[in-house]
Structures are given as structure tokens and as C-alpha cells.
């Protein structure tokens, strides 16, 4: 302070001494008070740091709260897409319906272990024979006619 009580540039000895004594008493504040003041300052600065973050950073900071829920939703959507969009099981030509999809009975056959073994062996000769038989039947007309 450079001015006296009336705005003059002088300070009395009394003012100087009282200030020195008050400064001394401040320097002697006990550790617990100093520690709590320090904590209060850090809390205030943390609040300031939070406020001074850019709006974009605050937005993404808030989005982090929703990350787990978003992950669950994403997994659910992915599972749905994979389930509904999986390629249709290619059945032998004769087992296809008119719209190109496999009949329910065919799905049951495919789910059967024996049928899977047969399919994996890829008996080409059998398929050729079955195709020829099918052509013969369509060319000869209904059986017994």
C-alpha cells in the first residue's frame, strides 16, 4: 500500500507495525489450516479447468458416459444385421422352391449330421444322376399316365 488513510503517501509507524504483526500471525497459521486452504484452492482450480474446457471437449467428455450403452447397442445391431443378412444356404437345384429359397424340410435335412456328412463328401456323380432323373421325369410325363 503506498498511500495513507487519507490518500496521502505516508504510513505511520503504527500502521507498519500492525501490518508486520498481522503478517507474522499469518505466517504462523498451523499446518491443518494451510492444508485445507490448499485443498480449497485445488478444488476451485479443478472447477475452473472443467469450465474452461472447449465445448467440443465437454461434449465428448459427456459422451464417455454413454460409451457402455453405445457399445451394447452397436453389438446388438451388428448381430441383427449378421442374422438377417446372412447368405442363404445353397441347396441342390432340385430342392429349391420356386422363389429360390430352401424349403423348411430342406433346412431340417441340412441340420441333420448325416446330411452334413453327405454334403461334405460332395458326391458329384449322385447329383448328376439325380439331375438326369429329374429331367427324365419331366420329359416322360407323370408316372402312371
Amino acid at each position: 500500500m503506498s498511500t495513507g488513510p487519507g490518500g496521502s503517501d505516508e504510513r505511520s509507524e503504527f500502521e507498519r507495525r500492525t501490518q508486520a504483526v498481522l503478517d507474522e500471525s499469518t505466517a504462523r497459521l498451523d499446518g491443518s489450516v494451510r492444508s485445507r486452504l490448499n485443498q480449497a484452492r485445488h478444488a476451485a482450480m479443478a472447477a475452473h479447468a472443467e469450465r474452461s474446457r472447449s465445448p467440443l471437449a465437454r461434449f465428448f467428455g459427456a459422451r464417455r458416459l454413454f460409451a457402455p450403452a453405445g457399445a451394447v447397442a452397436a453389438v446388438a445391431v451388428l448381430a441383427l444385421v449378421l442374422w438377417t443378412g446372412r447368405p442363404a444356404v445353397q441347396a441342390p437345384l432340385g430342392a429349391m422352391n420356386a422363389d429360390g429359397t430352401a424349403a423348411i424340410e430342406d433346412l431340417e435335412l441340412l441340420a441333420d449330421n448325416d446330411a452334413l456328412e453327405l454334403a461334405s463328401e460332395a458326391d458329384v456323380e449322385f447329383y448328376e444322376w439325380a439331375l438326369a432323373e429329374s429331367d427324365n421325369e419331366s420329359g416322360a410325363g407323370p408316372v402312371g399316365s
Binding site: 500500500m1 503506498s2 498511500t3 488513510p5 487519507g6 490518500g7 505511520s12 509507524e13 503504527f14 500502521e15 507495525r17 500492525t18 501490518q19 504483526v21 498481522l22 503478517d23 507474522e24 500471525s25 499469518t26 504462523r28 497459521l29 489450516v33 494451510r34 485445507r36 486452504l37 490448499n38 480449497a40 484452492r41 478444488a43 476451485a44 482450480m45 472447477a47 475452473h48 479447468a49 469450465r51 474452461s52 472447449s54 465445448p55 467440443l56
Partner: protein, 198 residues
Amino acid sequence: MPAAVRGPGELAASDSKSRALDQFLATVERKAFKVARFALRHEDDALDAVQDAMLSLVTAYAERPCEEWKPLFYRILDNKVRDMQRRRTVRGRVMSWLPVGGGGQSDDDHEDWDPIAQAASADPAPPRRLEIDEAIGALEQAIGALPARQQQAFLMRNFEGLDVAETATAMGCSEGSVKTHYFRALQTLRAQLGDFWT
């Protein structure tokens, strides 16, 4: 800050401001605590008032020029202190209606009593320290007995080092009132403390 994304220059300025703010609070916190304790006569309440004032300053006035922080901070602190005094008055009125617990030592007082802290030190304090202790005790008692506005003017001017205009901002009054309160405070303190201080 209205812009959504900040450039490096703005971030550096923000960091610099944060450092300045932290430094300001570190500089002012102890004296602010003393000022609040003189007014409230209670350590925990004084700490709460200082913490609230710090939070209010950084959340509402951090963007103001650094030179304005000190008077603003003390203005906020003064408001917090007055709020606490008002609450204390209301609480006192409510408690006076209750039939028990008004006087005597509470259980908390017994728990706070620490025999080790109360025991006399084996090391006698040196005479100089004793002299300073006495001076601090006498001055603090005299300041504590001052009327609130005089006490405030004296502490702002002579302890915190604010000039008349800053003190007027901190106290929410005119510069003329500051000068009057300060002059009367000095008169009273001189009369109470005597020749030792002059």
C-alpha cells in the same frame, strides 16, 4: 468462449490464465482466511467462506483482468461472510427455542480436547517469540473488538494492502466511507494498544 474449437494460441492463453489464477489464490488464501476468521470468529466457518469465495471467483470472474481479482475476491468473501452471519443469527434464534443443549460443553468439545496438545511444552519459548505472541494476541483481540465496517476497512487497507478505491469495491461503499472507517479504526486501535505500538 463462444468458439467450438480452440486454437493453440487460445489454449496457451487459457493455461497462462489458469496459472495466474492459481498463483493469485495461493497468494491471497491465508490473508483471506484471517480476514474471514476475524469476522466469523470460527475457523471452520472461515475456511468454508474462503472456499466458497474461491469457487465463485473462478467460475464467475476468471475472465476479468487480473488486477480486478483481489477487490472482487474480497467483495465475494464479504458477501459469503454476511450470509454465514445471517444464517448463524437465524440458527441462534431457532436454537433458543429448544429446551436443552443451549449451554455447557457438548460431546464434540470433549472429543476435541487433546491432552498432548494442551500439555506445556518442555521447551520454553524464547523471549522474542513470547513478545511477538503477545503482540499478535493483543492486536487480534483489538481488531476483533472493532465494529464490522471499521475492522473490514482496516484489514483491507493495512493487512491486504488494497488502496482506497479497491477497498471501496471490496466493501461495496464509497471511497469517502472507506477513509472514515479506516481513520476511526486506527484511532480505536491506537487508543487500545497504547504506546507500545506507536
